[in-house]
């Protein structure tokens, strides 16, 4: 229980309270003691002086009668008076004998002595010598004892109240905290056991725990979303990898069973290798997607001319488009330097163009456009005049492995748009699908490199890089 934060906090506060109380009481106590002591000694001295005055005026007898009168007047033995002769024989006063602890030297002493019927008490005494006589003037400290006791009791009571109240508050707080922590723990253990739908209980007020609970709920929301995504992806992977793996398996099993002629066997082995290659291709695409999604590729961002990159991608696909009589053209607003990952952007563009090529009709047209929007961003779009995508399908096509009805029978694994979307996201944008009537237009934005840099400044840089790269490429021969 001492480990409970509420209790240890309460204990800390109690200790602090006691320390404060003691710090407050100690000087008070000290001041009281010193002041009272000094005051008393002063009174005793004045008393002794008055007696000395009497002695000087009226001699020892005068003092004796004065003391007697004083003793008689006193009801309580508050004041102690004793006059003895040289041999300490008491002459007058309310003490039967000279207290053994009190020396005969003039001065102030604090001694323990027998006072009448009472037991030993602390007394403050002043000793003076009047001629051959010894005078003792004293005061019983016991008079102030109740006050002192009350002071100590007060202090003790204060400490007690502080401690008990503190502990109680600590325990109550602990109970309240424990009950809330308990409910949080229950929720969390339900989540640990796999039920991600649970949320922490929250109240309307805005205390610390509630704020924390809300934050955790937000986190749970995100986790649920991610887990859901991962589940979807793994289902899709399982589905998409199973097909080629099943084909591969049956191919090999059949081979082992029927043991055909070597020529046939070789053909089957080639087919098996092709199956494996398909699996590997899906794997690579998924790994690339995961890599982009993890956001780790930001390190690969460099200033690049997006118009140049686009023109290259279009040039790369030009012969393929030509073969299908599709008019593939690149349009751009001149050199535009953006910050991006050249490898991923090239891959995303290649996927988009590849997609467009699949859906554009014979004698169709595909336009790849790079447009400066003059708001610090560049729009890259790929549009075709194919069948387009219905609104209901638009959200689905971004999903991994989704393949529209129109794509049946075309090569590909259904990751092209997801990958382009992931790349767009990495560059702070998102893939936008719109209708061309007919056809599909896919666009995304890229942030323009600092506008103050003139766009043409990037061109020599780029061509220098290209020149550098060219011999390296040739040198690999």
């Amino acid at each position: 229980m001492l480990r409970s934060s509420a209790v240890s906090l309460a204990l800390g506060y109690i200790a602090l309270g006691i320390t404060a109380l003691v710090l407050f009481a100690a000087p008070l106590w000290y001041a009281w003691q010193v002041t009272i002591q000094e005051g008393r000694i002063e009174i005793l001295q004045v008393d002794a002086q008055r007696l000395a005055e009497v002695f000087r005026r009226e001699g020892a007898d005068g003092v004796r009668s004065f003391i007697d009168a004083r003793v008689r007047m006193q009801i309580a033995s508050e004041r102690i008076l004793l006059l003895t002769d040289e041999s300490l024989h008491p002459l007058s006063g309310n003490l039967p004998v000279w207290p053994p602890d009190v020396p005969l030297v003039p001065g102030n002493y604090k001694v323990r002595m027998e006072l009448g019927d009472q037991s030993t008490q602390m007394a403050l005494v002043h000793v003076a010598t009047l001629g051959n006589y010894h005078l003792l003037v004293g005061r019983d400290n016991a008079l102030f004892a109740p006050l002192q006791t009350r002071f100590w009791y007060g202090l003790a009571a204060g400490i007690a109240v502080l401690s008990i109240a503190g502990l109680l508050i600590g325990l109550i707080t602990r109970r309240a905290l424990m009950s809330r922590v308990h409910s949080i723990r229950q929720t969390v253990s339900a989540i640990i056991h796999g039920d991600l739908k649970h949320r922490l209980p929250t109240h309307l007020n805005d205390d610390e725990l509630n704020t924390l609970s809300r934050t955790i709920n937000g986190m749970l929301e995100q986790i649920e979303l991610l887990v859901h995504g991962v589940r979807n992806v793994s289902n899709s992977i399982a589905h998409d990898l199973r097909t080629p793996l099943a084909e591969l398996r049956s191919r090999l099993e059949e081979l082992a069973l029927i043991r055909p002629s070597p020529e046939e066997t070789f053909a089957e082995v080639d087919g098996a290798v092709a199956d494996v290659d398909r699996v590997i291709r899906i794997f690579d695409a998924l790994l690339r997607l995961a890599e982009i999604d993890a956001g780790m590729r930001r390190s690969g961002f460099v200033p690049l001319d997006i118009s140049d990159l686009t023109a290259n991608a279009v040039e790369f696909y030009a012969p393929a488009a030509e073969l299908e009589n599709i008019d593939l053209a690149a349009h751009s607003d001149g050199a535009l330097t953006v910050s991006g990952d050249p490898v991923l952007l090239a891959q995303a563009l290649s996927n988009l163009i590849d997609n467009a090529l699949k859906y554009a009709p014979e004698n169709g047209a595909i336009n790849v456009t790079v447009r400066n929007r003059f708001d610090g961003s560049v729009e890259v779009s790929v549009s075709d005049n194919g069948p387009g995508i219905s609104d209901s399908e638009k959200s689905k096509v971004m999903e991994r492995f989704y393949r529209g009805d129109a794509s049946r029978g075309t090569p590909g694994v259904g990751l092209g748009l997801s990958l382009a979307q992931a790349v767009a996201k990495l560059h702070g944008s998102t893939l936008e699908l719109s209708d061309q009537n007919p056809g599909l237009r896919v666009a995304f934005l890229l942030p323009l490199e600092e506008p103050q840099t003139p766009a043409h400044a990037a061109v020599p840089q780029k061509s220098a890089a290209a020149e550098e790269a060219a011999p390296a490429t040739l040198a690999s021969g």
């Binding site: 291709r281 890599e291 696909y317 393929a320 891959q347 092209g416 040739l474 021969g477």
Partner: protein
């Protein structure tokens, strides 16, 4: 070629050693980093195939770094199961000359080893290239077959130049993508084949003997041999 294979996986080792020996190469094998380092530093090899992740204290990249610091210039091909772009960059930065991701096709490995070996022999990038009656002058960028000039677009020129520099060798589609287009991804479709067939139209169509040939399950080669 005398080749060193540093690889700990037995299946991969068996597959690579057998294949390389069948292709007429001499192969030494080291199963861990320490042996690999020792052999690579003490024996003269034409090419080293280095697995990236090795048992023992030393991994492939560390060996490459040590060899390069010691002044060894033997071309090194890194084999790795790590396929991320950054891994590739790190591998090449450590001093490797090429990077091949597992799993790989044997033809791809062989073609890349040939390319590395030829690169190490040193080439004159300005000297004219010839394969049979096909001639190319990299300086004037003129291409002729027999006496007939052939007009090529810049990318076609680059493609043909790469193929001719590797005349007699198999060049894979991936190698063409990486070296001609600088594309380090798989475009999923047969775009490279389309480029090749277009090039073939220009250099081979009207001639009796085709120079640009398809190697089944591997890639392409430019050769004047029968």
């Amino acid at each position: 070629m005398k080749i060193l294979l540093v690889e700990d996986n037995e299946r991969v080792t068996q597959f690579v050693v057998k294949g390389l020996q069948e292709a007429g190469h001499t192969v030494d094998h080291a199963g861990n980093g320490r042996d690999g380092m020792f052999l690579a530093a003490s024996e003269p090899y034409d090419v080293i195939i280095m697995d990236r992740m090795l048992p023992g204290e030393i991994d492939g990249l560390a060996i490459i770094e040590v060899l390069r610091k010691a002044g060894k210039r033997t071309p090194i091909l890194i084999l790795s199961a790590l396929s991320e772009v950054d891994d590739r960059i790190r591998g090449l930065r450590s001093g490797g000359d090429d990077y091949l991701t597992k799993p790989f096709a044997f033809g791809e490995l062989l073609a890349r080893l040939d390319a590395l070996h030829r690169r190490a022999e040193g080439i004159n990038t300005e000297a004219p290239l010839s394969v049979g009656d096909l001639h190319m002058d990299p300086l004037t960028r003129k291409v002729t077959r027999g006496s007939r000039p052939i007009a090529l677009q810049p990318r076609e020129f680059k493609l043909l130049e790469y193929l001719m520099r590797h005349a007699g060798q198999v060049v894979t589609r991936t190698m063409l993508l990486e070296n001609v287009w600088d594309y380090h991804f798989d475009p999923q479709t047969n775009v490279v084949d389309v480029h090749i067939s277009k090039l073939r139209q220009k250099i081979d169509a009207e001639f009796e003997r085709p120079l640009l040939r398809t190697v089944r399950n591997a890639g392409y080669t430019v050769t004047a041999d029968e």
